[in-house]
């Protein structure tokens, strides 16, 4: 290798001009400190709530409707429901939390906070502040597991706050719904609250992982709310997780066909699974990124 190649290799390997990184296995072990997290309780005060609703219903809503062709269905399922509940949905885009928060009825919006990954959204002060202000967010330790990870969520539920969580733990890389983890179901059982399924269809196509602004072309995105699922007597967290996953799958089925057909299939136990197709990676990504058809008559130039 010549000097030029050596330099290039060094520049790439040692990340010249960028923040140097320590290999993961060489990172010093540190006990996570609670006080290292930017406080977010202020965002759930009256003033914080007012500011958030102003942002969500003002600029956020305008941006979403400007950039996306957005439809919201099923909010009537929340009528008559006493809070708090845990809203959960499939997760394939940074749009998801915004879509849910802007589409929630006012009564719920004012008293709902989003669970956000501590390692991603609570790493630097400005991101913490933004996440807390716009989403009323609180940190969840997704890698840690155990009771400590959900302490704050439990505290909020006990205070009467509803929360939004994504049981998949992270955004889908291929648009397909991943396996639901059990944390959300455990939380439901522990707090004795219901779980409201939400299906977000088209989020991946509009703004997949790696993008920070929706794709051009006002791509269609649909948010569907389902009936609140309540833990049953003696139900285990595994069983509840299965029902939750089924709840989202039914909403996808309803979107694909009709409410009536989806209902019939549910009764027959034939709701199509959300599992990605078998085979190599590319096949999953290919299927996951298949464009969602536009609603209504085709545009004149299509």
């Amino acid at each position: 290798m010549g000097t030029r190649d050596d330099l290039k290799e060094m520049a790439r390997g040692f990340r010249w001009g960028r923040r140097p990184l320590v290999p993961k296995s060489a990172e010093p072990f540190e006990q996570p400190r609670e006080d290292a997290v930017f406080p977010s309780d202020w965002a759930r005060t009256d003033a914080g709530v007012a500011a958030r609703q102003l942002i969500l219903n003002g600029p956020m809503n305008a941006i979403l409707h400007n950039e996306l062709s957005l439809r919201v269905y099923g909010r009537e399922h929340l009528e008559g429901v006493e809070g708090p509940v845990i809203f959960f949905s499939n997760h394939s885009s940074h749009l998801d939390a915004t879509l849910i928060m802007t589409s929630l009825p006012d009564r719920w919006q004012a008293k709902t906070a989003v669970g956000a990954a501590r390692d991603y959204f609570f790493d630097v002060w400005w991101r913490q502040a933004f996440t807390a202000l716009v989403y009323g967010a609180f940190p969840i330790d997704r890698g840690r597991g155990g009771s400590g990870a959900t302490d704050k969520a439990l505290e909020l539920l006990n205070d009467g706050w509803s929360i939004v969580v994504f049981p998949e733990g992270t955004r889908s890389a291929d648009g397909h719904v991943q396996r639901f983890r059990h944390g959300t179901a455990r939380l439901c059982l522990e707090a004795g609250v219901g779980a409201a399924p939400i299906a977000i269809i088209g989020g991946f196509q509009a703004m997949p992982k790696g993008r920070f602004w929706p794709k051009a072309g006002r791509l269609p995105v649909t948010v569907r709310y389902g009936e609140v699922l309540y833990p049953e007597e003696g139900e285990t967290h595994q069983e509840l997780t299965r029902r939750m996953s089924q709840g989202v799958a039914e909403l996808f089925d309803e979107h694909r066909t009709t409410w009536w057909e989806a209902l019939r299939r549910r009764e027959r136990g034939e709701t199509p699974s959300l599992a990605p197709p078998m085979g190599p990676d590319w096949r999953r990504k290919w299927e996951g990124s298949r464009p969602v058809p536009r609603r209504g008559p085709a545009r004149a130039w299509e």
């Binding site: 050596d6 330099l7 290799e9 040692f14 990340r15 290999p23 993961k24 060489a26």
Partner: protein, 528 residues
């Protein structure tokens, strides 16, 4: 507190890692998932070395203080380790000088007149007067050289004595002067776990007749590893222990002084060689690139001279004196504190970067046989419990393996390479067919005794040294090695690590697990 050694798992964040390859080094990207074993950080050195040495001499383990052992009119012999340790040679003053001066001072004050200092070379080459002067210091050198300070001669029948045989029938023939002395003081530097203990006198001052009992293929194949001198683990250590105890029972009184060093292997101007790569500052990175570039562009002679001049700023981490076994136990504890790294399990492939220096090419040339010895003899054996690589796995080493020999230091190596290895590389066959002839060849013996040549049998020992590694590994691949000399060794050459891994898959199958042993600094992998 210095950090212990650890095992890194290469991920996307891992920068290219430094790999030694003879008189050069390279930055190598390793496949994601490769384990990299790093030595512990250097321990702090003892601040007041003279006081520590004096304390050890006056408060020995399981023995009377040295002052009580020294009496007027006694016959005192001091033996010192030779130039093969430490590596690289340490910055002055050498620890041996510091110890010698205190021992001699005490001897003088106690009225000892009959004092001789022997450099315990065994079958190694005689050290030159300049090398000895550097090691023992000007004051000792001027007082004793050449009459009372000299290299051991294992081929001088008048200077040897057959002390007896061990229970296993092993001959113990050592320096007559040492055997007949009222006290032998041995000054040791313990660089690796194999050094010191009974090996000092029973091997360092022994003749071929004695050494052949443990420096042979059978012993090597039953030493797992010879860097693990616990009883039953190393046949060579067990043999040395039997001989040492035989000497003790025969009345040879040994006052053993052992020292251990920290891991400061490279000087400040090459400080990046002592650090973990992701901790390199911009200066370290620049320094590495500049050193490498200058080194690659330099003519071979300048390059060799540059490396030859490297002096290790080793600091003393422990000095113990007294009865051989008790002292050695403490030395090993100290050594393990600096060198032991726990590693979880073996892998299919192990990778070594061979540095420019080994015990037998100080101020000399690392010839292909020494490359074999350094890789499969020394680095491969730097383990406890089990080797880093699975039985039948692949050893990948980096070294250019030039077909080059030091004409003065390694004459028998040249013939060994040309004659013996041309015919066979099997250690057992070599031992049976050729060893005796080389060991007793009058020309090699003459060069060993009068010039600065390694003994005629020494290349055989180097070959046996790697016998266990050779037997254990399914394949050995040298990255960047000269194909002709590598083929003579019976190994294969690869142009790059990628090629070497590709070749290794023939032996260990696709997607092998890999471990890169990031030495020097020296360490011992405690493989669980």
């Amino acid at each position: 507190m210095p950090r212990p050694g650890f095992v890194l798992e290469v991920d996307e964040r891992t920068p290219p890692l430094l790999v030694h390859e003879g008189e050069s080094f390279r930055m190598q990207r390793f496949p994601v998932g490769t384990r990299v074993v790093y030595p512990p950080d250097s321990l702090p050195g003892i601040r007041d070395v003279p006081t520590a040495v004096r304390h050890a001499l006056l408060n020995p383990v399981d023995m009377e203080p040295l002052t009580a052992l020294l009496t007027p009119g006694m016959k005192l012999t001091i033996a010192v380790d030779d130039i093969s340790i430490p590596l690289p040679p340490m910055v002055l003053p050498d620890i041996r000088q510091r110890i010698l001066e205190q021992v001699i001072e005490l001897a003088a004050s106690k009225g000892v007149d009959d004092l001789e200092i022997i450099v315990a070379t065994a079958l190694h080459r005689r050290m030159t007067s300049a090398e000895i002067r550097r090691m023992v210091g000007e004051r000792v050198f001027r007082s004793f050289w050449p009459k009372d300070l000299y290299n051991f001669d294992a081929e001088d029948p008048d200077a040897l004595t057959h002390v007896g045989k061990t229970d296993e029938g092993e001959d113990v023939e050592i320096s007559k002067r040492a055997a007949e002395s009222d006290l032998v003081v041995y000054v040791n530097v313990n660089l690796v776990a194999m050094d010191g203990g009974h090996k000092s006198v029973a091997i360092g001052l022994a003749s071929y007749k004695s050494l052949r009992h443990h420096h042979n293929v059978h012993t090597m194949l039953h030493s797992r590893s010879y860097m693990d001198p616990r009883p039953g683990k190393s046949a060579i250590a067990d043999s040395a222990t039997r001989m040492g105890r035989m000497l003790r029972d025969a009345g040879v009184k040994i006052f053993q002084i052992e020292t251990t060093m920290n891991a400061d292997t490279f000087p400040e101007n090459l400080g990046f060689l002592n650090k973990r790569e992701w901790e390199w500052s911009a200066f370290d990175q620049g320094l590495m690139m500049a050193s490498k570039k200058a080194n690659d562009m330099a003519p071979p002679r300048i390059r060799r001279e540059f490396f030859r001049r490297i002096e290790a700023p080793y600091k003393l981490t422990g000095v113990n004196a007294g009865e051989v076994e008790a002292v050695h136990e403490r030395t090993l504890t100290n050594l393990h504190r600096q060198q032991l790294v726990e590693v979880g399990g073996q892998s299919d492939v192990v990778i070594f970067g061979l540095p420019y220096i080994g015990p037998y090419n100080v101020n000399s040339i690392m010839n292909p046989i020494l490359v074999h010895c350094l890789g499969l003899g020394y680095l491969f054996n730097m383990y406890r419990n089990k080797p880093l690589v699975k039985k039948g796995g692949v050893v990948i080493m980096y070294h250019p393996v030039p077909w080059e020999f030091h004409q003065i230091h390694h004459p028998s190596y040249i013939d060994f390479f040309e004659e013996v290895l041309r015919e066979t590389t099997d250690p057992k066959t070599i031992e049976t067919k050729f060893e005796e002839r080389y060991a007793k060849d009058p020309w090699y013996t003459h060069l060993y005794r009068t010039s600065h040549a390694y003994h005629g049998v020494h290349p055989f020992y180097m070959w046996y040294w790697g016998a266990h590694g050779r037997d254990h590994a399914g394949d050995v691949i040298l990255v960047g090695g000269e194909p002709k000399s590598v083929a003579r060794l019976g190994y294969r050459t690869a142009g790059s690590l990628r090629d070497a891994i590709e070749m290794a898959t023939d032996t260990v199958g696709p997607s092998p697990t890999m471990t890169y042993f990031h030495a020097p600094p020296i360490m011992i992998a405690d493989v669980r």
